[in-house]
Symmetry: C2
Subunit: 221 residues, 2 copies
């Protein structure tokens, strides 16, 4: 849902959107199928999926089948405890660094100077690569790593959801006409993109609809 | 050859080496086959190849088959003109950013705090992501992007070839026992890893042996 809202926000600001999905070894691909469909519906000029097999380096329950997505005694996924500032096993090592790097490569090819990403500091405080300091450091790197940086035009990394709550994101999406019934957030979605309703991602998302006072249109199993 | 010398230098400094190759859509894979063999011979604990299909974003003669490696009237590849500070078409968009990002992910999984890369500012001044500012910016990013950064232990990015000439690299490799007949630098190597002798990479490499006063053991076609 975050990525969809980012596309809608970039479109509203007048950008031609080239949308990138990265398949990094996720257990399911329904999220990627949904991304292609949503990008088209929101008026993106192009959508590409780049594959990087992070499963081969392991370390995350999302890509390493030897690590279980953690569940509590009732069979529900154990939530991210932001208050403890711990990093959950669903963290994918260096995920946002890798995804932004690939986006940077495509931006160079396109001659694009603006990268948008859906990182959000409020709901995911257990993930170091969602913080504003990370985004700023990546922008600095991008300007040293590329032709656009060397030749002086400069690149910007936009993270328009950075300081929004999940409820704010839901409201912004509804305002911009995003069809949230099509977006897939669940870590364990089935092939049709239907959500489990129990994992961290499902709970954060459902809480967002509740807090925004907007009916949850998510398709659950 | 640069990567092989970096492994030997890290081993000399007492590190347990986990060597990473990234298959980013190169036209040939003999370089990767050679990397696995050389890593083993130089005493690396492990070697992995991670695939990322940069060919799908295009933009480089190394990954995009619609762009030719440029040749002069005699059929020789046109060299990098460092004096002009132009960026050659053999530049792969964001390549070092992407490769270091994947290395960072693996380092997180391993609990490793030291990343080594073979970037070199002297011979490749046309490539923005080979400069010391880039390496420093990546180290800063790595410390903001990861558990090791958040939890305070810190990561270091080493680029021990940074200020060495190609001749220095050849001499250092010979001193450390690197078998340069096994290393593949050529952009257009054949399946057996034999070099064309004409592309930028071949000419820089041959010049390095000449300048070092060391016989060129490269296997040419």
């Amino acid at each position: 849902m975050d990525s969809a809202v980012v596309i809608a926000m970039a479109r509203e600001r007048g950008f031609d959107v080239h949308a990138l999905s990265v398949r990094y070894g996720q257990r399911h691909t329904s999220e990627l199928d949904a991304a292609a469909r949503i990008a088209r519906e929101l008026g993106a000029v192009a959508h590409k999926t780049v594959h990087v097999d992070l499963g081969s380096i392991g370390g995350s329950a999302l890509t390493d089948t030897s690590i279980d997505v953690p569940l509590d005694d009732d069979g529900h996924a154990i939530g991210v405890d932001a208050a403890k500032n711990t990093i959950p096993v669903t963290y994918v090592p260096a995920r946002n660094t890798i995804m932004l790097s690939i986006a940077l490569g495509w931006a160079e090819v396109l001659g694009a100077a603006d990268l948008f990403c859906g990182v959000n500091a409020v709901d995911y405080s257990g993930y170091p690569d969602c913080r504003p300091e990370f985004v700023e450091a990546f922008e600095r790197l991008a300007n040293l790593a590329t032709k656009a940086g060397v030749e002086g035009a400069g690149l910007r990394v936009h993270a328009p959801l950075q300081h929004l709550s999940k409820a704010d994101i839901v409201r912004e999406g509804v305002r911009l006409g995003v069809d949230f019934s099509q977006t897939v957030s669940c870590y364990r979605a089935d092939e049709a993109g239907r959500a489990c309703g129990h994992c961290d991602a499902c709970r954060l998302r459902a809480d967002g609809f509740t807090a925004a006072g907007i009916p949850d249109v998510t398709r659950y199993v």
